[in-house]
């Protein structure tokens, strides 16, 4: 006796209810180009960052001019520097990425210490002046984040690719 077949509905194409179609899709799923060892090593290495900044508030990216539709209609992306705003509950940082590097300001305006961090670790640290302004020379390629420390608190931004 044939066992009752489990019907899966809402099936996308291809039809996985059909053994042969499912096998064909499985074949496609298993035919993937190998991922570079370098990419895998970097991905595994990301684990070293687990919990490292657990005592710092992680603040998210609130605005990125390169994902803003209003900006993209008005001007071509290469003409204007990329601006990004990161905000947490009370603290934030806004930066502009241009040809010479990073210029930024702590929000609300206040002095502090800002560290530019790459996947390899802290890269450079600079003081933010009385109104929270700071600047870094052009960072190396790859993911970066900013770690900011002020009297009001310490926080770190999410990783971004520059």
């Amino acid at each position: 006796m044939k066992p009752p077949r489990m019907e899966v509905d809402g099936m996308p194409s291809p039809n996985w209810n059909d053994d042969d179609e499912l096998m064909a899709d499985l074949r496609a799923a298993l035919t993937v180009p190998a991922v570079d060892e370098q990419v895998l090593t970097a991905a595994r290495g990301a684990f070293a960052w687990r919990g490292i900044d657990a005592d710092l508030e992680l603040i998210g990216l609130l605005y990125d001019s390169h994902l803003d539709v209003a900006t993209s209609v008005r001007e071509s992306p290469t003409e204007s520097p990329r601006t990004l705003a990161f905000h947490g509950d009370n603290l934030g940082v806004e930066i502009e990425l241009n040809d010479s590097g990073i210029e930024g300001q702590l929000i609300p305006a206040q002095p502090g210490l800002v560290t530019l961090v790459t996947a390899d670790g802290p890269y450079a640290a600079v003081p933010a002046d009385g109104v929270g302004c700071f600047s870094f020379p052009k960072p190396p390629g790859g993911p970066i984040r900013l770690e900011c420390s002020t009297e009001a608190g310490r926080f770190v931004t999410v990783w971004i690719t520059v």
Binding site: P3, R5, M6, V8, D9, G10, M11, P12, W16, N17, D19, L22, M23, D25, L26, R27, A28, A29, L30, T31, V32, P33, V35, D36, Q38, V39, L40, A42, A43, R44, A46, F47, W49, R50, G51, L58, D64, H66, L67, D68, V69, S72, S76, P77, T78, R82, A119, G141, G142, P143, V158, W159, I160, T161
Partner: protein, 206 residues
């Protein structure tokens, strides 16, 4: 041990600091990140940077993941956003609508959307496969090889009679359909379809 674990186990173990589990998560999903960057025709050096950003973000996001099966959707969405940022920064040649990530050229748009759907579906299949018992998995892998392994060789390697390979395949495919990964994927696809046709299976999880 990590190799045989299902996604929820791997995610929980990674949160608890098990590096083996993390490495296995990477092994299973590294393809997915690269598949998305390929859809947007990101050059290899940039794709490498994007991949690293996505994994660094995942390390931070891991503890907040309530539904481990949704990890593929999260990876696709995060990678997609990074690709779009890069395309905008570089003034690249693929015009995309930054609001929804659709490529503005319609035929190219259909290609990218279709490619992302394929990538997600294939990831679900690989995740499902990983949930099966090793012997069951091996049978499907041998049969899915291109060209498929001859029945005589499968019979020898797995110690099952040639005559029962067909029925066994059918039974294992049934098990595959019942895996957590496949059921969760289908659930998400159904929900997306119910929430209006245009939206595809990868919910915006951010």
């Amino acid at each position: 041990m990590a190799k045989a674990s299902d996604l929820p186990t791997l995610v929980r173990a990674s949160v608890d600091g098990d590096e083996e589990a993390w490495n296995e998560l990477v092994r299973r999903h590294a393809h997915l990140v690269m598949a998305v960057t390929r859809q947007y025709r990101i050059p290899p050096a940039d794709a490498q940077d994007i991949s690293q950003t996505v994994w660094l973000r995942l390390v931070e996001h891991l503890a907040d993941i309530r539904e481990p099966a949704a990890i593929s959707g999260w990876i696709i969405t995060t990678t997609k956003h990074e690709c779009l940022r890069l395309l905008r920064s570089g003034g690249r040649t693929v015009p995309v609508d930054p609001l929804n990530g659709r490529v503005l050229d319609q035929s190219a748009a259909d290609d990218v959307d279709g490619g992302l759907l394929d990538a997600e579906r294939h990831q679900a299949l690989r995740d499902g496969l990983a949930e099966l018992a090793p012997q069951q998995r091996e049978l499907l892998v041998l049969l899915a090889a291109d060209p498929p392994a001859p029945y005589a060789e499968i019979s020898r390697r797995l110690g099952i009679p040639i005559g029962s390979i067909g029925p066994t395949r059918s039974r294992i495919l049934e098990k595959l359909r019942a895996t957590n990964a496949i059921r969760t994927y289908l659930e998400a696809t159904r929900e997306a379809a119910a929430n209006g046709g245009g939206r595809h299976a990868l919910a915006e999880l951010e």
